[in-house]
Symmetry: C2
Subunit: 128 residues, 2 copies
DNA sequence: GATAAACCTTACTGTTGGAGTAAGGTCAAG
DNA sequence: CTTGACCTTACTCCAACAGTAAGGTTTATC
């Protein structure tokens, strides 16, 4: 199949598919006589795997690792476990940071009931 | 004062100070005879204001607006209120998205108790 | 007075994960 | 035969800096 069909089957833009190939996340696509990329159903599976990982905000370099690990199905999956665990930790850490930020912004937003910039409590708070 | 002293007083890297000047967030610094940038105490205040905004993850373009608004102290501060409110909304939205992500990752992390990649439930889940 | 460390300058590249655009080749339908 | 949909590579752009190179200046020490 051509790239646009792969795109529709996987919900990944053609542009993005070429990009993944460029950065080595997907193998070099085989070409047919006119130079167009030619994909098979296994490419669909690979790309859906990548898309799922991206939905979990796993960075491309780590997705590479997850793909690499699967080349030997008898190897330990501890690396996979660890990677997901780290990703979970990252997300939790970010949530905590943003929660603090939310509190600060909420307090700030409520602080000003004036109309004039010169007396704006928000701006005064931002200057400390 | 020279850029490094301004940097120490504000906790903003010299590099970043020059960058802020480049993108128009800070006015062009005056220079003394050897070509070094020369700052005053008002620059300290301006930069601390910018740093506080950045701590709240307000993008540089919006900080520009916040600075611009203050040139006329008699103008309304509704624009400031709105900007902070939008920033708060952005943060809340991101927190919500990340919370969903956290659930998914947590479920995923718990799903595999095998040792072998070929039977790893995490990887199987990622392929759907 | 020499020299080395610390500091200053501009300018260019790299980061992440693509999106946008240009300039052109190919293919199927009407 | 032309139009529109699709394909190709290659380049630039985004945010907010950080890293590095290559060079000029100042200050402290020997």
């Amino acid at each position: 199949m051509k790239i646009n069909q792969l795109s529709k089957l996987t919900n990944v833009l053609s542009k993005t598919i070429r990009y993944y190939e460029d950065v080595g996340l997907l193998p070099k696509a085989s070409r047919n006589s006119n130079g167009y990329r030619d994909y098979s159903s296994s490419d669909v599976d690979n790309l859906i795997f990548i898309r799922r990982c991206r939905e979990l905000q796993i960075p491309l370099e780590k997705i590479k690792v997850l793909i690499q690990v699967q080349t030997d199905t008898t190897s330990s999956c501890s690396e996979v476990d660890l990677l997901i665990e780290q990703q979970l930790e990252n997300v939790r850490k970010t949530i905590n940071e943003l929660s603090l930020l939310e509190k600060t912004l909420h307090t700030l937003a409520k602080s000003c009931s004036n109309d004039i910039v010169g007396e704006c409590e928000i701006l005064k708070n931002l200057k400390q």
